[in-house]
């Protein structure tokens, strides 16, 4: 009588054992996120409320938008360290355009975002035509762009008078802030590109095996450069959102934010080696990162510890990935 049950049990056991390494590798971050989520929901009455969830999404959106763009760069085998500088630069361009020209609100914001696109194109050209290692190339452009931002502002704040400029950053629809919708839109578009289009296939191909892709007729350089351009555009969008939230732009405003972005991407499980990854991973990684901070605030624990925890989780995520890779191989 117990036989079917035991047989089933054995079967489940076998399947689990075979699957566990792959599952841990592919969905470890989901499990960890769910665990954190449940823990916080249980230990804080405020955490799992509409209001808090909404705020969490709002706070995450700039980093989340940049992480989505960065994911494309990662999958294509690149690396983008410049998003902090690019976002600050884009914010300044948007604010200056709004103040100094008649471009109007949306016109200025678009000009700002396009400035980010321009920076991304420069990164792409430097990495492909210039053959500079992506890490160094984007570090260099970050320094240059930061410098230009400082020059054009003479190192001062750019303040925008009036409330109108905050429409994008603080405006809401159905009670949810606009940046959340922008994030959803950017993630949707990038996810679509990656999953369903020719371009997406080329991105995976360029990062998975550049030489094989080239010998299969893929214009690897064009593909790589495009991912940098997209990342730049995303940084531009995030930059104008950030400026719009506070109505002031500052050349060194977003310093260090690139590390949050990279942390989010890696935490989500996008491979640093290229060729693997997905947009949902970057979205989840960004949420994960922000939730840790949010949890610290809600639980009233000393916030000084949150960086330590974030770093530990990042290191754990990467070593888990390496471990699972080795087991599989």
């Amino acid at each position: 009588m117990a036989t079917p049950a035991t047989a089933l049990e054995q079967h489940v056991h076998r399947v689990l054992r075979r699957a566990d390494v792959a599952v841990v590798r592919d969905y470890g971050v989901v499990l960890a996120f769910v665990a954190l989520f449940i823990t916080l929901s249980v230990s804080s009455s405020v955490f799992f409320t509409w209001e808090n969830m909404k705020n969490l999404a709002f706070q995450t959106s700039p980093i989340g938008i940049m992480a989505v763009g960065g994911t494309l760069v990662f999958i294509a085998g690149g690396f983008d360290l410049s998003v902090g500088a690019v976002s600050a630069f884009s914010g300044i361009i948007a604010a200056k355009t709004f103040v100094g020209t008649g471009a109007g609100l949306w016109g200025s914001l678009i000009v700002g975002a396009l400035a980010g696109l321009g920076c991304g194109v420069a990164n792409g050209l430097l990495v492909t035509l210039g053959r500079v290692n992506a890490f160094i190339a984007t570090l260099a452009t970050a320094i240059i762009i930061n410098g230009i931002a400082q020059v054009i502002t003479s190192g001062n704040l750019v303040s925008v008078e009036g409330d109108r400029f905050t429409t994008l950053g603080l405006g809401t629809a159905w009670g949810v802030q606009y940046p959340v919708f922008v994030w959803i839109g950017v993630a949707g578009v990038c996810g679509f590109l990656l999953w369903l289009t020719k371009f997406g296939r080329y991105v995976y191909a360029a990062g998975g095996n550049a030489e094989a892709a080239r010998l299969a007729g893929v214009r690897v350089n064009v593909v790589r450069a495009s991912t940098f351009a997209i990342s730049g555009l995303c940084a531009g969008i995030a930059g104008v959102i950030l400026v719009s939230e506070v109505s002031t732009a500052q050349w060194d405003a977003n310093r260090g934010i690139e590390f949050d972005v990279i942390t989010a991407i890696v935490l989500g499980g996008v491979s640093l080696l290229g060729g693997e990854g997905a947009v949902w991973r970057a979205v989840l990684g960004a949420f994960f990162l922000q939730t840790i901070g949010n949890g610290f605030n809600l639980l009233g624990t000393s916030t000084q510890w949150q960086y330590v925890i974030k770093g530990v989780i990042l290191a754990a995520a990467v070593s888990l990935d390496a471990w699972a890779r080795r087991r599989r191989a």
Partner: protein, 502 residues
């Protein structure tokens, strides 16, 4: 040579790679101070066996006894502690450091943690005197020829007190002269009391150097016998089993009025390619023979637009072609199966279908969006017709065996009928069954009127398939044979430029 004493013994060793059984129930005894050769076809398991001995791979099952002790090596380091090391096909030196540093890497003479240069130099000089291996100690490793890099590895093994050295295809990148010198060195090592396990598929050289020969087939030991009792013919029939002849499809010569598809004139990129000209007609298979490094692959890559040329013109169907990029070549109907399918051909992390359609996404997509239905229909049919053995067409290519991976690449390049099909070592590392299937495929391409350029290191293959064979040496085409004049002897003779033919 003491015949009796056992240095290493393997009992019922088994190893799998994914679904492929590389070794099963291997029993083997290696006598101390002997030169013991392992021979077999590609994929017979000889390299795997060598790697298990040296701790590079771990056996799934069975027992390994060294000096009578049962051991379980987890890494090459563990094996080295027992005096066992391996020298592989590609030397693994630190390229930017000197010969001397490479030799003593990890075992440098030091004084309070600081490398004692003078003592190391003295040790090196002593080593040279003992072994007779002359190497410039200050040269950077990367500037050495492969043969010299191997010598560095051998010195390295000696310095680490290796008492058993596994040599995995050590002559595959050497000239005949260099090979001879390596054999001398191997015998000298034996004189010092070292045991050598010599993995190779060059039978003549195995019989020249080894004391004992073990033949492997499909991961099993066929027999172990003293080299004196073996002949190349006996070894071949043991390797193939029941003397299975590789059968080639009946050659069908291209029609006498078949148009010239490819005409290349004066291709040059010294020193790799020097003034190479060739013509291929529709329905013709032209073989390109020569040693590794003779410029065969470089010619193929140049025609495909993968590498730049300094000089030369290429015409396709009588129209001049600018060799700008593989992309341009593919558009004009030139495709190439690359030499190394893992690094140059496949995206190992992606699915079979993805790999097939990668160059043809235009045809299965509308406005940039890939239609997975069209993809599954068109590429799927091709994958089926090429008999790629897989559970699912969306499985990662990395889960397939070598032969099936190669078939995926064939499917990629047959998706759109090409005009010129370049195949660079199409049967490397695939089993006999897949080999025959690939022969049929190439034959079928020619029958359809496609021009085929075939590169292979297996002369049997070239002679069996090609209508004409060009032989390259040091960047030049040095000989051409057609149906009447083609023979293995003649091809080898031209390739080596020597009277001594293996």
């Amino acid at each position: 040579m003491s015949e009796s004493e056992t240095h290493v013994e393997l009992r019922r060793i088994a190893k799998r790679f994914g679904g492929v059984r590389a070794l099963s129930e291997v029993d083997l005894r290696i006598a101390r101070n002997s030169i013991h050769a392992l021979v077999g076809e590609n994929g017979a398991g000889k390299s795997t066996l060598g790697k298990i001995l040296a701790g590079v791979e771990r056996a799934d099952d069975g027992e390994l006894l060294v000096d009578g002790r049962s051991v379980a090596y987890r890494s090459p380091r563990d094996a080295l502690l027992d005096g066992i090391t391996i020298i592989t096909q590609e030397p693994t030196l630190v390229p930017h450091r000197s010969v001397l540093e490479n030799v003593f890497l990890g075992v440098e003479s030091t004084a309070v943690g600081v490398v004692d240069e003078r003592r190391n130099a003295r040790r090196f000089a002593q080593l040279v005197a003992e072994t007779g291996i002359e190497l410039p100690p200050r040269r950077l490793a990367r500037s050495l020829r492969v043969a010299d890099q191997q010598k560095v590895e051998i010195l390295r093994a000696i310095v680490r007190d290796a008492r058993l050295i596994v040599m995995d295809e050590p002559t595959s990148a050497l000239t005949l002269d260099e090979s001879d010198r390596l054999f001398e060195l191997v015998r000298r090592l034996q004189g010092f009391g070292t045991t050598i396990v010599y993995v190779s598929h060059f039978l003549a050289e195995v019989l020249q150097v080894a004391d004992t020969v073990t033949v492997l087939r499909d991961g099993r030991v066929v027999r172990t016998a003293p080299a004196a009792e073996e002949t190349p013919q006996r070894l071949v029939s043991a390797m193939l089993g029941r003397s299975v002849e590789l059968t080639f499809p009946e050659k069908e010569p291209p029609a006498p009025d078949a148009p010239v598809v490819l005409s290349a004139r004066g291709l040059s990129r010294p020193p790799a390619i020097q003034d190479v000209s060739l013509e291929i007609r529709a329905g013709e298979i032209v073989g390109l023979a020569g040693l590794v490094g003779s410029g065969r692959s470089e010619v193929a890559r140049a025609i495909f637009g993968a590498d730049r040329l300094d000089a030369g013109t290429v015409e396709l169907d009588g129209k001049p072609l600018r060799l700008r990029s593989p992309r341009a070549a593919i558009r004009r109907g030139i495709v190439m199966l690359p030499e190394d399918r893992k690094t140059q051909g496949l995206l190992m992390l992606r699915s079979i279908l993805d790999n097939v359609t990668l160059p043809h996404l235009d045809t299965v997509s509308t406005a940039g969006v890939v239609s997975s239905r069209a993809e599954r229909r068109d590429a799927g049919r091709l994958v089926d017709s090429l008999d790629v053995r897989t559970r699912s067409k969306t499985a990662r290519v990395s889960t397939l065996s070598g032969g099936n991976q190669q078939k995926v690449l064939f499917a990629r390049w047959l998706f759109r009928t090409p005009k010129l099909f370049i195949a660079d070592e199409p049967t490397r590392g695939v089993d006999v069954g897949a080999k025959l299937a690939i022969y049929d495929l190439l034959h079928g391409l020619a029958k359809k009127g496609i021009a085929v350029l075939l590169i292979s290191s297996e002369h049997e293959e070239l002679l069996g398939l090609a209508h004409r064979v060009l032989v390259m040496r040091a960047g030049h085409v040095v000989a051409e044979f057609d149906g009447g004049t083609m023979s293995e002897d003649a091809v080898l003779h031209a390739a080596f430029a020597t009277e001594r033919v293996a």
